[in-house]
Symmetry: C2
Subunit: 253 residues, 2 copies
């Protein structure tokens, strides 16, 4: 990707993971919701994805978008996710197709499929050896309003791809933590995404050729119920981390 | 269904088809967006699904909801479908679960999957003998913002079912016309839904036992690319009309 890349939600954790590893690899333009505490190393704007004018200015001239902005709280109320996530993502897609953007990487979430974690399947599905897998071809089953908003934006991306030809990659991000995987939390270990692997899958989504994809963004954990097959095959994602290599906050392998 | 049934969007065409055939079968409460021209035969309210208070009053005490209200235009702009369709449906679901409603029938649309009608598949897929079928298990591919809103509300229903246990049936309604099927319009003939069959599938959705279903609402047309299998099996839908039995506006069989 030689052209400038817009990253929205630059103040969030996914943005932090991406920029830490890929800060020098791309000519970034960052969109922050609130003024950053420290002066960023990249061109940046302050703006709100709810505001079509802010978004149009942010998207102007870029060749790709990594859209992370939105209310990130799994417990977020409907009005907030409708406005910040659903309507905000619509604004970014509209600006992107107006601008002729080629590639749109969308931060979806494990919460888009959270209701597959039924009482019958848990906690077994969180454990190594269990064979239950979601692979991105299944219909969403959100576990909360936040997940409803993420699933809605996934299908919104399908529309923008089909209608305008823009390449769209929905990444259902797992449990992103800095440093060690979650401790005493089997579910979090099963969907752990390390910071370096988070950057890797975003690099792949910016570099690979594809039409419309929905993939899972997790590390190569022994425990897992999300398939990495599609991300490996289509994006060339090669995760390097595994929650099984940790004992608490100590890496053992 | 012995309890009262709320029908929203009572002034629309689907509502007209349902009430014409099933007016005497249920104790209806109707929600109109605008005051009706003639005094309805049933209890009714005037209100807006965008308004949570209007909706709460409309849902109070009912045992089932047939939710048809929304902007019905395939060309409707985003702001309208976001407000009237997505946010409106959220209001109705919230009120329904608050009220302990058992069954929620949602008028989805063929436009939720309109982008399956690609240049490669059409017009062949509209013709009798073509074997392409959508059966409700496929991921949505909306062809317009209206379709995005319908697909978003389908997955919203999945959430409300999983979280609260309410039975949800999404009916992807085809091309509903009064009297004869569309003339000189292969696509419309393939997804024709007669008024009597529209009433039939809504009766089935009110009577059958199910958890969460997404079915196609069309007549038993010789031309078809939507499977009726799931509606037949789970709902017991037995359509009686077929666009092939018509030559223009004349019934020939």
């Amino acid at each position: 990707m030689d052209e400038q890349v817009l990253l929205t939600g630059a103040g969030g954790r996914v943005g932090e993971a991406v920029l830490r590893e890929l800060g020098d690899e791309y000519d970034w333009r960052l969109l922050f919701h609130n003024p950053p505490d420290e002066e960023p190393d990249h061109e940046y704007r302050i703006g709100d994805v709810d505001d079509g004018d802010d978004v149009a200015k942010a998207v102007e001239g870029v060749g790709a978008v990594v859209h992370l902005a939105g209310d990130p709280r799994p417990s977020a109320p409907w009005d907030s996710v409708m406005r910040h996530n659903i309507d905000g993502t619509h604004n970014v897609y509209e600006a992107a197709v107006d601008e002729g953007v080629e590639k749109f990487v969308y931060a979806s979430s494990n919460h888009a499929v959270g209701a597959y974690e039924t009482d019958e399947r848990t906690p077994e599905m969180y454990r190594a050896g269990d064979e239950f897998r979601l692979d991105g071809t299944e219909l969403p089953r959100p576990g909360n309003h936040y997940g409803v908003s993420k699933a809605s934006c996934e299908v919104m991306g399908r529309y923008y791809h089909d209608e305008y030809g823009i390449s769209v990659c929905n990444i259902r991000i797992g449990n992103l933590t800095e440093g060690h995987p979650p401790i005493d939390y089997e579910r979090g270990q099963a969907m752990w995404l390390s910071y370096p692997d988070c950057a890797r899958i975003h690099r792949c989504a910016l570099e690979a050729d594809y039409e419309f994809e929905t993939v899972y963004g997790i590390s190569d954990n022994d425990r897992k119920y999300y398939s990495l097959e599609r991300a490996r095959e289509v994006l060339g994602y090669d995760p390097q981390d595994n929650s099984a290599e940790w004992d608490g906050d100590e890496k053992t392998v």
